[in-house]
Symmetry: C2
Subunit: 356 residues, 2 copies
């Protein structure tokens, strides 16, 4: 399908106007735009052609035109103008990032919220841990009789702990050797590698501290399993209510209801090279999203950690703006967390958008 420049220009005008107003666009309205030196009649002819090509649709005979999914697709692939992030946007991103540096999961959740409030659309964020997570270091502290604190340093550099209250009167020497045992036998093992045999062996050698062993091992396994899970955050579902296409409560409810973690985890992962992936309406596999577009970006943190952030909204969406923001956030995340930079001061926070 080869379009003339004029046709492209008109298609772009239709998409831009429809995205802005949510009203079908008529030939007169296009002709009235600045930098549009054609009469409404000419434009009508071109509109007819674009409709014939399946790029535009007519809700009914005497209405204006609306972009079809194919139209959006062409717009996204060829016509979309780059959107430049404003200073405010770049600033508030850097701020969120710095505030919560230490806790990765919270940062991810916050970025989701941020994107949602910037775009006024529901957003999601996924953190994937492809690498096996293990314990790197154990520590056991006795704070009072019968009161212990167990501390785990994980391979992700997260630290977990548990307060253990048990009527155990362990010999300090036994505690010391227990910790040593833990650090030799239980480190660098993933949750599934911790077998009953290992547990039994530990217990046998723990002397007066043996009652602690099962609690410790159980907590270790639980922690590793929890951390290994891919976490999914979805926020801002109610933002949909602000969109004209969801003025019908039934529709809104149906989509919001299905926008949960299960739904999100069925979404495809964008390729490594392309920064942003857009799925328009029927391009979505999930039935619930057939009239909905998803814009998603991938971030890579190295070391087996990666994830996606994305936005869900009506097909009529400012793709350029949303894509720019997502891509900025994804890059920011990558930079911030790329495997344990010590919390250094950030230097660059320039807009990383390439120009056309």
């Amino acid at each position: 399908m080869n379009l003339t420049d004029r046709q492209k220009k008109i298609l772009r005008a239709v998409v831009d106007s429809y995205v802005a107003t949510a009203e079908p666009v008529g030939s007169k309205a296009i002709a009235a735009q600045p930098d549009m030196p054609y009469s409404s009649a000419t434009i009508r002819n071109e509109l007819a052609y674009l409709t014939e090509q399946g790029l535009l649709e007519q809700p009914h005979t005497s209405a204006g035109r609306v972009p079809s999914p194919a139209g959006y697709r062409l717009y996204i692939d060829e016509l979309m103008q780059d959107y430049r992030l404003s200073r405010d946007e770049t600033q508030s991103l850097s701020q969120v990032m710095n505030d919560k540096l230490e806790e990765f999961d919270k940062a991810i959740a916050q970025v989701g919220q941020m994107i949602s409030s910037l775009t006024n659309l529901p957003a999601y964020a996924v953190a994937t841990k492809s690498q096996a997570i293990t314990v790197q270091h154990y520590e056991l502290i006795q704070t009072a009789p019968y009161s212990f604190i167990l501390v785990l340093l994980l391979s992700t550099e997260a630290v977990h702990n548990k307060l253990i209250k048990l009527p155990v009167n362990a010999d300090p020497q036994d505690l010391k050797s227990l910790v040593a045992m833990l650090n030799t036998s239980l480190t660098d093992l993933s949750a599934r590698e911790i077998t009953p045999q290992i547990l039994a062996k530990l217990q046998r050698n723990a002397g007066t501290a043996s009652d602690l062993v099962s609690v410790i091992v159980e907590f270790t396994v639980k922690t590793l399993e929890d951390e290994q899970k891919n976490e999914v955050f979805v926020t801002g579902q109610t933002k949909l209510l602000g969109q004209p296409e969801y003025q019908d409560v039934g529709k809104a409810k149906a989509l919001i209801g299905s926008l949960d973690e299960n739904m999100i985890s069925t979404l495809p992962v964008p390729d490594k090279d392309s920064s942003v992936k857009i799925l328009v309406g029927p391009e979505n596999v999930s039935q619930a999203l057939k009239e909905t577009s998803v814009v998603m970006a991938r971030y890579d943190l190295g070391d087996g950690m990666q994830g996606m952030i994305g936005v869900v909204g009506p097909t009529r969406m400012d793709y350029a703006q949303v894509a720019a923001r997502l891509s900025y956030f994804a890059e920011g995340l990558g930079k911030m967390f790329s495997k344990a930079l010590p919390p250094s001061s950030q230097e660059e926070n320039e807009t990383p958008l390439q120009e056309d």
Copy 2:
């Protein structure tokens, strides 16, 4: 205002029917109910009287009756039948409670979600810490050169930690004495009691570990401040979309939008003695809730920890059911967390509802 038994019975019938159907209730519909030995004409007379008394309202002349806020109030105070929790409900509560025993904040949030999904209404949960929170015990672990784990045991029995990576080459002896100092000088102090003077003194005496001091103190203050904050969780806002009174997107959006943490924290705290407090429509102070009812319950954990859980919904609400569930959850929370029972196996989980 003194009502005859018959009038009370009819009022109750109106409320029950309206709560169930959301449709104005006519005299015929009431007469058709079982255990209602009056003709529609008689009922019409009584309805007229109840309307005159301000307990019922008519949307328009030829419609049935709808309870007024005063009607709901009387119903709640005098006519409401006790609602018995089902086995399923009590079971699923016990389950949530057990799953997340250790982490109080998460449990609170989960209980909120649970209530929301049981009642199909938005729910909120607040955790209040009236007592000053302090650190009870410090521990500092060196896991590698330049890598330390700081562990804090708080007065609430929560344990917090932080991974510190600093190019400090501290003498083991200095580390040891630093920890000792922390445990004597920084324990039992609330966030605001930690003064610059204390920080300075610590730093002076820390020897080769002095670079660590400021990081540790900063983290301590931040942690204490964070923990001291009253946490508010709101969930299930979109449940409103299922209610017929919020089929209008504008209304739904307005209420959902104002249902945030700020709004929740303006709600009154139920008295200590009464287990459940109900505010009907205009009884609410907040303008946004004037056409909305709030059912709330208080839980007490002893030791300066208490809080509220509550449900927000249309004035047409099954008050009996919602109140029963809330009260059950509140009691359960109290029992579970009442100041550090060691994670014992729960014994009783009977419905704690008194009969009339």
